[in-house]
Amino acid sequence: MTSQGRTAEVPETVDMVDRPVRPTRIPRRFSVIGVLGELLITAGVFVFLFLGWQLWLNDLIVGASQRDEALELSQQFAPQTPAPTSEPVDPTTPIDYGEPVVAAAPTKADKFANIFVPRFGADFVRTIAQGVDQSPMLADGVGHYPDTQMPGEVGNFAVAGHRTTHGAPFNQISELRVGDPIYVQTADGWYTYRFRSLEYVRPTSVDVLLPVPRAPGIDAVDRMITLTSCNPLLSAAERIIAYGVFESWQPASAGPPADIAALATGGA
């Protein structure tokens, strides 16, 4: 077979060589198909560039600026005269500072708190603004549902944040493990919540914001924190809900909790 094929090819080649050389055709500078193809490829490249920008580059840029803003706010919250460190502090016996101070509801868009979640990264901190509109609250970090309770208050302190795009503060919300600390800092002090559970709900399930989440008509006795974000990733078909329960409170003068002290005091 192969030898036959070869012999069949040879005369053809010879034939081509024997032909008189034709004048080389001047190539057209443009062909409609060619230009269209190149434009479509270019458009495709720009779509990928946009996705890279939206889902990665811009999150890095915006996330870093959100973090810087939160650290700045953290400095403002810190007492001007820090607590004397010479005071004997025994970490094994936490000091009881009594009932947590509950601040009055802030005005709309006011950045009244910071949220620290070590599980989201050792340097994770975002501001919490009053209200859950996209701009300016969710574009700048985390937003507080204005009809829910304040940090430390009996009931439910509910906040919302982006899981992708716009700095993606709650990008790793599904990575939370039971018992993970969620710290909320206000001008009054530090509120420590512990992550308890995740829930996946429909976008209309506003009962996750109730003083006792998902339990209408029940009087709250516990202090809860609720984080809402979108689910699945890159979609808005559902909501992912993270619940945490209040553990302790310490005034601003007592300084930040030990595991975020370095971050909260300006990364020193």
């Binding site: 434009l39 560039l49 946009f50 937003g143 549902y145 979108c230 979609s235 808005a236």
Partner: protein, 52 residues
């Protein structure tokens, strides 16, 4: 199209490469600071809140 544009660039090869690099940087800068934010605002953002 791009081949024709390349041929229409003046100067020796390094000048052409320099021009192309400058144009690409300018286009990317324009995209990141102007075009992409505009497109992002138009297509909207995924909802993260629960509401009735």
């Amino acid at each position: 199209m791009y081949a024709a544009l390349w041929r229409s660039l003046p100067g020796p090869i390094w000048v052409r490469v320099l021009i192309v690099v400058l144009v690409v940087v300018a286009v990317l800068t324009l995209c990141v600071y102007v075009v992409f934010p505009l497109v992002d605002a138009i297509i909207g953002t995924p909802e993260v809140t629960v509401e009735q």
